[in-house]
Symmetry: C2
Subunit: 281 residues, 2 copies
């Protein structure tokens, strides 16, 4: 859709590296980008783009700002410092939206995000995902760096994807670590970095070491997840974490995961001797 | 099968509380019990039973000892300090068995245990499970202590069992923690105690606290697991761990999990205000 790039992209930005990576990727492809920066979550980089700040309850203000900047498309990205609902100041539209959003929040992150996407779509915005707005961030298919997975690692990759997909169906998590066919760790609410780090607590015969790398970290999106909101992400820190616990490499779903700072990520994987592959869904 | 109790039980004992609980339960029911104690894994309590020590590779010695004590039935229980295969000293039968056992070990704990069960069955022993040899250890159905689960907890129990059964099908683990429908933690190789303990690292709005208990720990056997080898276990420590991270209670599969020291476990759950229920499979 080449005409899509003519429409300004309104990026509702939380914290972390992802919103900046999306904004840069979209701008590099020639699009106008306006940032609706969430107070308390978004970082200072937003000042290098046309932007406005709004807090979580200021739905009116957010929608007005996005309309004023002709954002036909809206994208939600980044981490939210989830405040207590009682501490959120609500403007008029915020009051109307709150009951539905609070009810959704109790059902989990995915339900919460879907409720917020709904809210923008009812206001006439077309909500897009990172895959559409910044396709350059998507993991490609095949080997990314210099290191190729061994036959044992290929088997671990297959086993790990089977696990991650089953867990995704149940809305549990997006990542797992498998070594020699054994599930060493499975992600739930703690996040990928913490999940990978605890592999170091397992006995050495179950896992690899930096001098004899074994096992794989796999990440794939939940099959039931709205891909407009929450694709799994890897970055340089993910590579360093996997390296620290002796893993042989990282496998992500090609087209279903984001690689933030791709060239830096690949360079770090090469430097540390880890493979990095995108696996067809 | 009342005639079964006339046959001596040969208990191949690793570490932990489980083998002792089984041996005592079988002896209390009037059976002869012989312990084949695994060197480096089994504990000193074996000295209070007729016993012999053997290391992991001494298959010949183990089989001879079990035959010499007329053990028509054999039961494997307890934790193994899994050594490196290269460090195991093999006797003649050990050499013959090793390739199959090593190949199985690479496929996961369940495959390893099935291979060892096979080995004993090919030698003419009838391998039994804890459910047969010590049925008094099995979790009963229904509420065990004084505290009843709330309606929210009933929903978390249902969600947690759904997760645990899906994970079991994939040979991942046997336990999960769910709070308000959200999977807080899922067990893989780290074991239940470590899995429960890390719930404390999650933000408080996601979980309960000792003053306002929420969420449930669920344990159920893997559907594919050979119940002769590895039923999930809870004990007093499990109750204390669940209490420490603010959970409302523990649910296990009735007839599909072992409660070690049942009266002490129930007393501790009552004291700490946690429910303890056995759920029909």
């Amino acid at each position: 859709m080449p005409q899509a790039s003519a429409i300004a992209l309104g990026l509702v930005a939380g914290g972390g590296e992802l919103p900046l990576a999306i904004a840069e990727s979209a701008r590099e492809s020639g699009r106008e980008v306006f940032i609706l920066a969430l107070t308390g979550s978004a970082d200072e980089w937003v000042r290098s783009f046309p932007h406005e700040w709004a807090s979580l309850g200021e739905v009116n203000k957010a929608i007005k700002a996005l309309r004023a900047h002709d954002c036909g498309e809206v994208l939600l990205a980044g981490k939210l410092a989830r405040p207590k609902f009682s501490e959120i100041k609500l403007d008029a539209k915020g009051v109307l939206a709150a009951p539905r959003v609070i009810a959704a929040a109790r059902k989990g992150d995915d339900a919460l995000l879907r409720a917020v996407v709904d809210l923008f779509e009812r206001e006439g915005f077309h909500v897009v995902g990172t895959a559409e707005a910044a396709p350059g961030l998507l993991a490609p298919q095949g080997q990314m760096g210099r290191v190729a997975p061994s036959r044992e690692s290929e088997e671990d990759i297959a086993a790990a994807f089977k696990i991650v997909r089953a867990m995704g169906t149940l809305d549990i998590g997006q990542a797992a670590v498998v070594c020699d066919g054994l599930a060493l760790a499975v992600e739930a609410a703690e996040g990928t970095d913490a999940m990978v780090a605890r592999v170091a607590n397992l006995p050495e015969h179950l896992r690899g070491t930096p001098s004899r790398r074994r096992g794989v970290l796999a990440k794939a999106p939940k099959p039931i997840q709205d891909r407009k909101t929450d694709l799994p992400v890897i970055g340089v820190q993910t590579v360093r974490g996997a390296a620290a616990v002796g893993l042989a490499g990282i496998a992500v779903e090609a087209g279903g995961a984001l690689v933030l700072g791709k060239s830096a990520v690949i360079a770090e994987a090469d430097r540390l001797g880890l493979f990095l592959v995108g696996v067809a869904p």
